[in-house]
Subunit: 444 residues, 2 copies
Amino acid sequence: MTEVTRTLARFVVDHAPAAVPPTLYHEATRALVNWMGCAIGSADHETVERAVRALSPCFGPPAASLFGRTERVDMLHAALLNGISSHVLDYDDTHARAVHPSAPVWPALLALAQSHPVSGRQLLHAFVLGVEVECRVGLSVFPEHYEIGWHITGTAGVFGAAAAAGKLLGLSEREMCWALGIAATQSSGLREMFGSMCKSLHPGRAAQGGLTAALLARAGFTSSEQAIEAKRGFAHVMSTRFDPDVITARLGETWELSNNMYKPFACGLVIHAVIDGCIQLAVEHDLVPEAIESVDLVVSPLVLELTGKLRPASGLEGKFSVYHAAASALIHRAGGEPQFSDACVAAHDVCALRSRVTATVDPTVRKTEAHVRVRLRDGRLLERHVEHALGTLPRPMSDADLEDKFRAQLTPRFTAETASAILEACWSIGGASDAGASIDAAAR
Amino acid sequence: MTEVTRTLARFVVDHAPAAVPPTLYHEATRALVNWMGCAIGSADHETVERAVRALSPCFGPPAASLFGRTERVDMLHAALLNGISSHVLDYDDTHARAVHPSAPVWPALLALAQSHPVSGRQLLHAFVLGVEVECRVGLSVFPEHYEIGWHITGTAGVFGAAAAAGKLLGLSEREMCWALGIAATQSSGLREMFGSMCKSLHPGRAAQGGLTAALLARAGFTSSEQAIEAKRGFAHVMSTRFDPDVITARLGETWELSNNMYKPFACGLVIHAVIDGCIQLAVEHDLVPEAIESVDLVVSPLVLELTGKLRPASGLEGKFSVYHAAASALIHRAGGEPQFSDACVAAHDVCALRSRVTATVDPTVRKTEAHVRVRLRDGRLLERHVEHALGTLPRPMSDADLEDKFRAQLTPRFTAETASAILEACWSIGGASDAGASIDAAAR
């Protein structure tokens, strides 16, 4: 058996910043922009409020930011709470095959960077490596591990957070093995929790557990050094399938961060193509709802299976109604959180148009594809075939798209100036001499 | 399917202190004495030192004791670190079939009680309930869950800590379901870590995670309310076997705490009978090593399999040498940590006698049984058949035995007066009006 854990540890420890392709530094920066908007945008979510209320008596010295909030807390609680806020709306990034890469890794890194000064380049480098570790660990047991019932963003994310934080702390190869081992033995998170506040607890705990692992390892706290591959280690205990080559093959040659996707819309991926097509038609033809006779959608069967709710009664239910998503996108030309608010779902104009939306399934249509047909009262028929929804790998969000999303997430709680300042700090992070201070100054 | 999680939650929430048999209050007090000696006795262990060094930058307000140390920390770190120290030597209590009951539960309860005043009776009651929950959850998936590779003290312990802390916090039935769910989704700990510092991290994390779960639940942080029994919940994801009846049948009628055992000797259970017999003979005949010609042991095959090391080279290796255990017990009339120190293992008199010890296996001898035969130089043969080692259920340690163990654990770092004061606070905890303050005052 290959020494999987040690090979992975050695790769992270020995890897030099110059060996990362420049495009990946830009991708890491895009991930930061997207992650930060999610974290700040949801920082006052009820899930975060309750966690802060519960844990505040235990907060340590104010060393790290809760992005989008006024409190400053110790780095372990910052990792936990920023991890929760960034995932709570499921609006964070998604690897093409498995985990949400940023939610476990950025909170650990940013919390640590605020008390352990590092350059922006070091920070981005550590992020790229952390994502590589969590994705490879996750993919080595995927999909069986997920099908058993593990929430892979939590269970694999803790490895990514440990590796990234350990890289910033300059761990030795042996200490990195321990960090991965301490991560492995904290790996947890059940899919049964989907639909409850615990879903976003998972990346939070992964970030906190991974950072804890790196801190403990640096202090000489030992673990098994074969934690991933051993008979009673992570892979065999937590999955029925394990392919060690997925972890060790072509390390440093392929990069999982290049398979990262950002969500333009605040709902499940399966209705993104419909929203995308509706916005395109509404903008191009400057549509008003009164002009619309009917809307016909042709979608993948999965779309109606997951989001077939005809009459949603709340903002949350709106996320499970392709009819609502189409109507609100045509009227508001957007698919952000405001379009999935209780108010929007109950709005008269949205309800009226929603009742004129129909959807039919076509098994040949992929889940990120859709046909949108809008019949106008003047008799015209507008059609749009969205082959790949915005945000998928074939059609990634542009930097400008990410900025628009970020600004929308910060509205109305923060001013446009604040949003600009944080955006500027994020986009320029690669050149920062003290990355933590730079982000902190902008986000205060 | 029975509503397992809800049934368990309702039981804990509704249970009245008066419904616990008085003998169990005494057993809970004995568990406290034993646990506290383990925690204080190992509070300066390297494992604890490293964890404290790693995490101290994140310590919150000094609300709770690290027993046996001078630091005071926030309750979550107290739960973690006291959990580590109390298990680090594997000298804590053992349920007859599964978990180490105290190490995940006492740290959570005592940390909480220091900032949430409760009577000693409430504290003991919550402990009894927490032990019931962790044992039933553990036994419902035992032994398959353990055989897969899960360290059940960590994976089931988190439920016990959550239930016990939740009881002290006065959670409602629904909140208790959430606490158990938040516990379930943090359940972790791999047996691959045995032999490393992570083994004692497991009960520490269980204590901290369980306390976190109770605090979050009280603040309205939601989880699945079928976390134990659901298709993608704890039992089905983490075990190939699940018997829900083990959790729900005869709740409140049988008590797992009555199956709790305390270790008189600082090593694995399998060599306790040998040590026990050697001490008995040494005391009764006032033996000196020079008078001993040879020692013959007849033991279970398991004894030589696990502890057959002929020439141990360190204190730790001494724990895996029945020969060393016998020799040091005959000379020192004890089997505590000092008998498994590097110095004792290297001592001339011990080495000399160790070389005159032989052991033979007999498959009819149980693992807690032994025959000890000491041949003296004057020709006499002394024999002792230990049918049940001291500390097993048929032959429990007396309260006086527990006191002796406690005092030995505190020697030489603490004075006899300090030991007496803490013992007094523990034995009288049932009558304390503010249990946390009472323990805290004695342990400072």
